[in-house]
């Protein structure tokens, strides 16, 4: 048995370290360490409740809006405010823009460059993939950066800027869209659709959205000249459709009133119950104690705690770890392609990437509908009063999965603020029963160490980790 430490894990958001125990070049066990602690939950304590809207986006530069939306939802819950119809549409649009931009950034800048590595020089697809996806120098970057920047111009209209906007408020949005701006939003969405159809998919979004089985997906991709088919070719060749399975227990808070909340296991969906969430600090450099519900959670640093190996808490639903993300969202939504992929191979590197790109095909047309549904002249923000005492919960979906904020207010100030981010779920450490988190499970049995292919890199990045959110 030998032990190696892998890090820094770049091309993820934030810093990540993984300790592996190897036997004959295969991973026997893994420990995932989120090595950066910033203490945002403590920063909030004692502040005016609405200050959370200025502070939480700064948890994360890539899930900034998702953090805003979770805080705004939790505050709205405490205030008893319901966003106006325009406010809700604007919030959906802002969140979807960030989610889809994140999916695009992940695929092109974080995930695909690993396939351009010299380790794959002998594979038939390598030369073209290296030409297109080599980090920084590949052809694709010169196309995807302008497409991304242009798509994020939606934020210039809807949210002032990205990242770190204060536009999302409990009652909706600070930024009313005019009739003329609606037309420009539609034009930006059409431009983005054009990039996706030409470069990413090589086909119309509607065709991609209707693929209903793994066989149909691979038949569609055969011989198609575009970036998603190029990924599928490489992934099939490397067996990534069968690698990286975690516990196959998935969780989603639900999003946009479009993708339902739920917990998926053994092929069936059961209701998601936020009351069943706990966080365990056994493996974290935090004060130990019985697992707590986040409404009652604590984050107290214990830096020299023996046997701890990360700053990340271990969230559990009904005592179990759960994988979150686009795959979880789309399983809960009953997507036939992903249900088939799960039935055949379980969760995998390929199914996670397919789910993310599928959301691009599914959501851009929905966003066009939301823009058309905006009613210029009608209110974008409902008003309400902040109670002196109260509590609230905000459950949203970030690009990377389920994000929850739990807050309580006392004497007009924030008394407690707890956050569970998507990668807190996915990169959870062991809990007190020694049960591993999803990534720790997904790595077992994979090749690693001297001379091994970059399989671990693919599996880790298939979760699209956001380490700055994880510990916050």
């Amino acid at each position: 048995m030998s032990r190696i430490v892998v890090g820094p894990f770049n091309r993820v958001e934030g810093d990540l370290e993984i300790s592996l125990e190897l036997e004959a070049g295969r991973i026997q066990s893994a420990r995932v360490n989120s090595p950066l602690f910033r203490g945002f939950e403590q920063i909030m304590v004692g502040r005016a409740p609405l200050d959370a809207l200025a502070i939480v986006p700064r948890i994360c530069g890539i899930c900034s809006v998702a953090q805003s939306a979770a805080a705004a939802s939790a505050l709205a819950d405490a205030m008893g405010v319901v966003p106006t119809p325009n406010g809700l549409l604007a919030r959906h649009l802002i969140q979807a823009t960030e989610n889809l931009a994140d999916h695009l950034t992940h695929f092109y800048l974080f995930f695909m460059p690993d396939f351009a590595r010299p380790a794959y020089a002998g594979r038939p697809w390598h030369a073209s993939v290296a030409q297109r996806f080599t980090a920084i120098r590949g052809d694709a970057a010169a196309e995807v950066l302008p497409a991304r920047a242009s798509f994020l111009k939606l934020m210039g209209f809807l949210a002032g800027r990205w990242p770190h906007t204060l536009a999302i408020q409990p009652g909706g949005s600070t930024r009313a869209i005019t009739a003329g701006e609606r037309i420009r939003l539609l034009a930006l969405l059409r431009e983005f659709r054009g990039f996706l159809e030409k470069r990413l998919f090589g086909d119309r979004l509607a065709v991609v959205a209707q693929l209903d089985s793994k066989a149909a997906l691979l038949a569609w991709a055969e011989g198609r000249s575009a970036d998603f088919p190029a990924f599928l070719t490489a992934a099939c060749d490397l067996g990534l459709d069968k690698l990286g399975r975690a516990g196959d227990r998935f969780l989603s808070h639900g999003a946009y009133g479009l993708f339902p909340a739920g917990v998926w296991q053994q092929g069936a969906t059961t209701p998601f119950d936020a009351a069943l969430i706990t966080e365990d600090t056994e493996s974290a450099w935090l004060l130990s104690g019985a697992p707590r519900h986040p409404a009652d959670g604590e984050t107290i640093v214990a830096v020299d705690k023996p046997a701890a190996y990360t700053w990340c808490k271990a969230p559990r639903h009904a005592g179990q770890p759960a994988e979150v993300g686009a795959l979880a969202r789309q399983l809960m939504a009953g997507n036939a392609l992903l249900i088939d992929m799960l039935a055949q191979d379980g969760g995998s590197v390929m199914s996670r990437v397919v789910a993310r790109l599928l959301e691009l095909a599914l959501l851009v047309p929905v966003m066009e509908g939301w823009v058309q549904a905006l009613q210029p002249g009608e209110a974008f923000c409902a008003q309400g009063a902040m109670p002196d005492e109260g509590s609230g919960v905000g459950l949203v979906e970030a690009a990377r999965g389920s994000l929850g904020h739990w807050l309580s207010i006392k004497r007009g100030r924030i008394e407690r603020y707890q956050i569970i981010a998507p990668t807190t779920w996915n990169f959870s450490p062991r809990d007190r029963t020694n049960r591993e988190g999803p990534l720790e499970q997904a790595l077992i049995g994979l090749p690693a160490g001297e001379g091994a292919p970059p399989t671990v890199q693919h599996v880790v990045r298939s979760f699209d980790p956001c380490m700055v959110c994880t510990v916050h």
Partner: protein
Amino acid sequence: MKILWLQSGGCGGCTQSLLCAEPRPLFDELRDAGIEFLWHPALSEQSGDEALALLEACAAGEIAFDVLCVEGAMLRGPNGTGKFHLMAGNGRPLTEWVERLSRHAQWVFAIGSCSAYGGFSANTPGNPLEACGLQFEEQTPGGLLGADFRSLGGLPVVNIAGCPTHPGWVVETLEKLALEGIADSDLDEFGRPLFYAGELVHHGCARNEYYEFKASAEKSSDLGCLMENLGCKGTQAHADCNLRAWNGSGSCLRGGFACIACTEPGFESPGHAFQETPKLAGIPIGLPTDMPKAWFVALAALSKSATPKRVRENSLADHTVVRPAVRKGGK
């Protein structure tokens, strides 16, 4: 010109913002200006041992590089150990890496308000993270590298402050350095490049007519000026946010929310709620930079009394309810 980039106690948002650079794709723009990333944690291929070997060679002075860009606050805690951020795969504090690398850098850039002054990481009551900027701790010179630090190129840390930074601020500072160099006289008292920090956020604000007449917004989404009631610091914050658009056409003010002065040291702890203007006897405490209080009060009273109905009514709505009049007969 070779850039080595590190991230520590921050959110990575300055890199995400940088990727929005316009009008040209970021990598093409930098390459054609002779600028390349030796390593960037979010963008480079090299991972793990390969990345560590490169960083070690740079820190030992064996591989030359020009600019050390640091994103995120320096976390010196707990108790000076730096354990709140140890380099993955290596176990040494990021603060130690930054100190070692800064000795071999021709120039050191703080990317964003966290690495410039500490930012939100320095905001926990009592600052248990012992967070600071590279050469400032909020407004106080010092920080990780000390008030007297000069990089090999002879400059203090260049503070491209902002939370996040505008992509143009970073690209233009890098390109100016590559093209003609940067002198002390190009920076303000807080180390910020004057080409953007020599302006106020107020300059070019689309709400200027409301400001002129002190027609103030009272609630979120109102079109009026956000200074009197909703916490806007645009008249005091140094940046060109309303002269240089964000994400095509945006800015905080255009987005309908207050400027919280995110380019200023200490902006994270304003001593009042971010979205409320603190007042004394009904007069905002934070008056426009360079404006004597008596003049402001007199002008505000005068302009309020002269506010046109159109401006007054629109200031309290989220869309135009009274159009500018059209003169009969034209012209």
